[in-house]
Symmetry: D2
Subunit: 343 residues, 4 copies
């Protein structure tokens, strides 16, 4: 921590700050400039609320000089994390695609969709089973039955399964059916849930909150890793800004920023990132071009009759076309995507 | 709903939109202008995702013309809701003050603070017992023991109790000790928790989320009321903006806006709204001047040694001074505050 | 305009609103629903401040149903505008690249840069001549001399010239030297400047303001077109959000949104959109993948010694590599980039 | 400046950074911690773009430790600036009120309004004369004639005059008629205008831009002061956020923040801060309660027929009522307001 004293700070105030820092187990390095005294507080001290120093008399500013996260950062792990699930590697040269409906609605629906997304190059089937919606009258999902249908369809078509875990009581049932447990944007700072998932031994896909900074997103990933779960993927899915033509503003620049700061794979979700079908393809392509390790895309064989999020779901033919474009874009930056890669 | 067709929409496209709307049980009112065809979709239809119409060919824009909420709005209840708890009325002419530490730390701490806030004019004692913090190494609260200490101190000093319910499993224990159950900003859209609290028979204080619009805040309150709990207070505690000199930007204008749209009492929390002690008093005064029905303020008898949020807690004498100022401000707009008013 | 009356609006209030609308030359279409009366106000009425209706008693909401712009929209011109300048077409299948330094510094500097950007595939040379900086002590640009050097270097290497016009007094000198006049983000709503540029007979590149909505951006373009200048390009260059890891948040989704709403070419400026060199390439690729008609990129042969914006300028070899990648990405969506790429 | 090196930075990288800093005339203070090397760069060096250091290899973060402004800050001038114009003091114990119409429309209009605002306690008459509006068909103001009418009405009623200067060519005419020259939010970073106003010898009221941080606002004020004009007032008038129920989000907390950082008077403009009449009074009261040195409020004797901004203009009786409330609120914090206070 660097503590910048005000130019008019008295020696007594400087000494008081120093003694408080020593109480907190810091070593102090004092530097007296022409204008300001600057104190360097050095030490392996965790969980300091820097505002406790900021409120002291004579202090102008307190600056943290180490990132608050360790495990997610590149300092101790410079190389990219690659998460292997069966024959799929996430975080390497392949852009891995997760696709499927917002909600699992029926056996025939999820099977039809699994078939089309597999054919187009997806490796992982997505689908929601528990849907606590903003209206109590809306479709609430099929629950465990939905997970079973999702698993069955995925197995039939050689796909992995990703599904959202809404609260900690649902972790066991998700662990039974899914290969990847998704933490939704609203739960990104649900520390109770993160703590439990830290103990899980399956990969977690952590979505960035609507108003979460990049650093807060990394801190939530740190929470998972501190609990012992090193298989964490980050997911950009749009932030809230003044612009409301699109539901959210998808922050494509978060992809290279997260990749620079962290070794964890970064996935992009243009379906929620935009909220409207005809913006999904351009933003999916943009995410691949910016270097994302994967895409999560809502696809429905009959979006007009989807029970949720039909308006942001791609038609099968749109998805297939998008996959072909993304394959070429991936190659432009030395990567590959899905089936195309096998060739 | 009003559906504005594109100027170049074909008659076939208009007919397709009409038939979709009829499928959704709307009555249709068609109006053909010089430039556009405009469709009015009339009916008591809930849970429509308007994006499902927006994606149809020929549609330019879809506009909802009724608020998505009913119970929280002033249409069916024009008069202000007044919540009575023992001898305290929230939502009337009195500005009710809730004060206390961030966390209950010990019997002596909470008793000392209860004494000073009571003396200065507070009616309700606040204090956290369950504190799932962003770091697993931070103080996590005293749990049920903390609630008991909070209740005891409040009873000893003639105060009511408000405390946060972090998840639905904690509702029973909160109901046992607290008079008001607080829903934190991060849980504002935890619909599972809201559904359970809708069944509770104690008042709920619902904090606006960091990135929640005013309409979303009202929708969450609607969720509580739809469950049967009509004793709901709303609480402004700062939103996230580009300005980061203060931790959050406290949206004072939300106070009169919420009051115009809803009959529910609006409380202001300047401690979290600003995050730093020397901005708490000006923003508390501003909230009262703007018409807030109550304040929630962090006070600590020894902020320098508080286990959490010391930097945004007022010293007892600062709080007492603030109460005197707020009393005068309340009177300027025909209200009164705490003890002072009784004189 | 659609005027939604409150559910408790009296007939007298409805009549008062109707008479005000008639005064404004609207035809009124009244529709009485179960809950609300809704008024459609139809007419070719411009410059209405809808708040004047919102403040009337009994009014719940006023909704504009026509876009406030005409000329920039696709209604009257469904086909993409293609701007031809000499042998360069902007807005067609080619992704046109504008590149060069932030500021023209010297004859040798601009010549060296013109050579490398030309070789890598750029068609247009950018460079600033008038730089009113935030500090009065910073480099303020070479003025007209800079424009002359820019023109000479461009001519020598077969490039067009784009440069910023800071205020209306500089229009004549820009018209003399530049092929495209750029309006900076801070001037996007400088209506006096826009009015003068509306009379100019050279293309204008209009940058979106830091806090400008998409609609406001289109309105500023409308202003130019209403003045008679139909050769307008729009440029996304980052908006201000709560995330401040990057200087701005580049809103890639604005590219497809603007293209849907307007026929004007959309350019992307990832140098200002991110503010830091190592994020320029991923965001440039993302913009091409999302469908941008062009890129504007800061390149310097010696960024470490650039007089301004060195930190966001690409090295020549980085730029050449980026051009090769963008060429492949353009092809993935049926476009192409520069002549250089064809080789 | 503090330069934090990456934990894996090589000694060579550290040396390269040091040599670059020495080239920039900094003295270097090196501190080697367990994890990082931290460099303190000390010196009176202006106009450094810190990104030029951030892009060097091995650098993790660069932190500026001195505020970029000097003259506006409290270091060299701890006491509040009080601006005296005739018998009015701005920045002292009096809350000074500036009121009047958006635009000067006619002699009788401005005279009628001057009379009512004077009677209610305003000291300064506001009114726009040059109105370059977003539509070329809207009322553009009366120009110099408007300024003359404004001056005459003010003189007749014993008021001062504040009016906006839209660009530098209008400075002379404003200097002739106005006592205070207002810089609008869109011009806050028009450095050419600021440079010219720095040479003026009349007070300037500088409005915060819609997307301007507090630091940027202070930097623009620094620009004025660096030019020699020390009579600067700052004005909060709303920022752009995700919440769009109100036109802008008025940042009341900016008032105490600006007052802590700067000695300049801080004015609040709730008319533009909210954009709608019935929110003006609560936000005006809030601003006074938070400590503003003055208010700027739009008042019209006939808002329904105002040529601009009628919807956010107060009726005379609303304004008079507001003044009475603000007088009591001012007294709650040891201040007073207008004539009313004297009685």
């Amino acid at each position: 921590m660097v503590i910048v004293m005000r130019e008019d700070a008295s020696e007594e105030q400087v000494q008081h700050v120093i003694s408080r820092l020593i109480d907190m187990n810091f070593d102090i390095h004092r530097s007296t400039g022409v204008n300001n005294t600057v104190l360097g507080a050095i030490g392996e001290v965790h969980n300091i609320d820097k505002r406790n120093i900021e409120v002291l008399d004579g202090v102008s500013e307190v600056i943290r000089i180490t990132h608050p996260y360790k495990l997610v950062g590149r300092t101790f792990q410079p190389d990219d994390t690659i998460i292997s699930i069966k024959d799929v590697q996430i975080g390497g040269d392949e852009v891995v695609v997760m696709a499927g409906p917002c909600s699992v609605e029926s056996a025939s629906q999820i099977d039809a969709i699994a078939e089309v997304v597999k054919q187009a190059g997806a490796k992982i089937l997505r689908g929601g089973a528990f849907k606590p919606r903003s209206s109590p009258y809306s479709f609430q999902g099929l629950g465990e039955k939905g997970l079973q249908l999702l698993r069955d369809a995925a197995d039939r078509h050689g796909l992995l399964v990703v599904s959202e875990v809404m609260d900690k009581t649902k972790i066991p049932v998700l662990l039974e059916y899914a290969d990847i447990l998704q933490v939704g944007a609203r739960n990104m700072q649900n520390y109770d849930l993160l703590r439990q998932l830290g103990k899980a031994r399956k990969p977690v896909l952590l979505k960035r909150g609507l108003a979460a900074t990049i650093e807060e997103t990394l801190m939530s990933a740190e929470y998972l890793m501190a609990g012992g779960n090193y298989q964490v993927m980050l997911c950009e899915r749009g932030i809230r800004t003044f612009e409301n033509y699109t539901r959210n503003t998808m922050d494509i620049s978060a992809i290279p920023v997260l990749q620079k700061l962290s070794h964890l794979p970064v996935i992009a979700d243009p379906s929620h990132g935009t909220g409207i079908r005809n913006k999904v393809a351009p933003m999916a392509r943009a995410a691949v071009a910016a270097g994302a390790s994967g895409l999560m895309i809502e696809v429905h064989h009959d979006p007009d009759n989807a029970k949720s999020d039909g308006a942001q779901s791609l038609f099968p033919e749109q998805f297939a076309q998008l996959m072909r474009e993304c394959e070429m874009i991936a190659q432009a930056i030395g990567k590959h995507l899905g089936q195309g890669a096998a060739k």
